[in-house]
């Protein structure tokens, strides 16, 4: 029987397990061993569900031995940001306060769907407190660390998800993205990440941040793995009122379809300002590989980012108002102070932001009449150092935290689907956003797959954990 390795893709694992060349238990034990060996450095995991994982793996092996079909993710280890409900665990959402919640009685819908496809949950992952974070730092659990250089940030708020996949502890992790929290860690940690269209994947039994902006999605080391997870998780769910009632639209069979003929443009203006040379280089490589020469302007992108910021800080503050009053000293002080300020923003500004959202949405839908895909940086820089407060760009000192998400926020503001692809620059990777029209995840995934096939996009092997 062949040995499993850290770099087997989910597709390869599922094929090997389904054909009984590998057991699901052996794959699970290997993943648990990698976590035990490397998580002291990465600090990606807050919970390792070893007993549950072994039981699930044994059940898969027994089902296969009995001649039953297990699913397209047979025996694939995965982990979830700790804002997903996991049966038996309190859903901490990166906080100290939520640890007092009772254990969850049932898994989140997306965990149920991954396991129904044969995947094996191995644990829950570190994240920024209540997802109000772009750094991956957490005062309660310590920072998740970048697998390519543990002195650097993972990005957030799905920091543990980026670290666990970028560090090859698991081939797939789930995260959430309100303003960029899948795309930013994907960029810094060198993984592929999918933020689907708003309403595509169920958020049932996950802890919210900003309900009108919250998305869930997968991170993976290959586009096929990303698509396998995405396909497994699609489908309507009455437990999430925003989840569309639409049948599954499989993307895996479409990945290799020709991308020639797609109208691909580069985001100009706002998306080419305040960026480091690495971000410029990454977009240029992707554009050249795709033959994209046209530049398009996203109308009023700076205002779109501003409106997303206002909706985020006020909706987030509303969610946590009682906790701010009752347990202010149990928050990360920086998060608490942002939420208190958010509670003080006049309501008229929130309504203006929501109305601007309608305007921006209409203009972007017009833009998608003339293009199929828009390319933009995922982050303005590669991963900063942990604890870094400012960076200097063109001689101007800028705050790190406030600027990490400037290119992701205008896109999630109106729920567009995006695949973040890693461009393996030296010494650190950086991501590019492949942005498609609403409900066209298939197009973004096809373009990402084409970039992976020609080697422009790739998840680099982790160099920071002695693997």
């Amino acid at each position: 029987m062949p040995e499993t390795s850290a770099f087997m893709s989910a597709a390869e694992i599922a094929q090997a397990v389904s054909s009984r060349k590998l057991t699901a238990l052996a794959v699970t034990e290997a993943a648990l061993a990698r976590i035990a060996a490397h998580d002291k450095v990465l600090n990606a995991f807050t919970d390792v569900t070893a007993d549950r994982a072994r039981a699930k793996a044994k059940a898969i092996d027994a089902a296969l031995a009995a001649g039953q079909s297990v699913g397209p993710l047979a025996g694939v280890p995965f982990a979830v940001k700790n804002l997903f409900d996991v049966e038996g665990l309190s859903t901490r959402a990166g906080s100290k306060i939520n640890r007092d919640l009772p254990p969850s009685p049932r898994d989140a819908t997306l965990i149920e769907r991954m396991e129904a496809a044969g995947a094996v949950l191995v644990g829950a992952l570190n994240m920024g407190e209540y997802a109000y974070d772009f750094t991956g730092e957490n005062v309660h659990d310590g920072p998740s660390r970048n697998p390519h250089d543990p002195t650097r940030m993972t990005g957030g708020s799905s920091g543990g998800s980026g670290s666990a996949v970028g560090g090859a502890l698991v081939p797939i992790a789930l995260g959430s993205d309100t303003n960029g929290s899948i795309r930013v860690p994907s960029s810094f940690c060198g993984t592929f990440g999918l933020k689907p269209t708003y309403g595509r994947l169920s958020r049932a039994r996950s802890y919210p941040f900003v309900a009108s902006l919250d998305h869930l999605g997968p991170l993976a080391r290959s586009v096929k793995d990303l698509a396998l997870a995405y396909d497994a998780m699609q489908g309507p769910d009455g437990d999430d009122p925003a989840c569309i009632v639409q049948s599954v639209e499989p993307t895996v069979p479409l990945l290799a379809n020709d991308v020639r003929g797609l109208r691909i443009a580069i985001a100009g203006g706002y998306f080419q300002q305040n960026v480091f040379p690495e971000a410029v280089e990454a977009v240029a490589r992707v554009a050249k590989a795709l033959g994209a020469k046209q530049t398009v302007e996203l109308p009023e992108a700076a205002r779109a980012r501003a409106a997303a910021y206002i909706i985020t800080t006020t909706e987030g503050a509303a969610l946590h108002l009682d906790r701010l009053r009752q347990r202010p000293n149990d928050f990360d002080p920086a998060v608490r102070d942002r939420f208190i300020a958010g509670a003080m923003v006049p309501a008229v500004y929130v309504d203006r932001a929501q109305k601007f959202r309608r305007w921006f949405r209409a203009k972007m839908l017009e833009l998608f009449q003339s293009v199929d895909v828009i390319l933009a940086p995922a982050t303005p820089c590669t991963a900063p150092k942990l604890g870094q407060v400012n960076f200097t760009l063109d001689g101007v000192e800028l705050p790190v935290r406030a600027n990490i998400g400037v290119h992701t926020q205008p896109i999630s503001f109106i729920g567009l689907p995006v695949v973040a692809v890693p461009v393996p620059l030296e010494p650190m990777p950086i991501g590019v956003q492949i942005i498609a029209a609403p409900w066209r995840e298939d197009i973004a995934l096809r373009v990402a797959y084409a970039l992976e096939q020609i080697g422009v996009a790739a998840a680099p092997a982790p160099r920071g954990i002695g693997a």
Binding site: E300, A306, A341, M344, R357, W359, W439
Partner: protein, 59 residues
């Protein structure tokens, strides 16, 4: 130096029963200043009176 924004912060904190210790004030004020600057950027953009809010995104 205290000014109208500090007065506003104090008044809203009292009106909403929000906790606000002296040590927290500089950071709360700094965050609120950023929010108000960005809010004015949105506010400055003219929108027709009949535009409807997009509380969630859908096509």
């Amino acid at each position: 130096m205290a000014d109208h924004l500090d007065d506003y912060i104090n008044a809203v904190a009292r009106a909403m029963a929000l906790p606000l210790e002296d040590d927290w004030r500089p950071a709360v004020r700094a965050n609120l200043e950023v929010s108000l600057r960005l809010a004015r950027l949105v506010d400055d953009f003219p929108l027709p009176d009949d535009v409807a809010s997009a509380a969630v995104y859908s096509t």
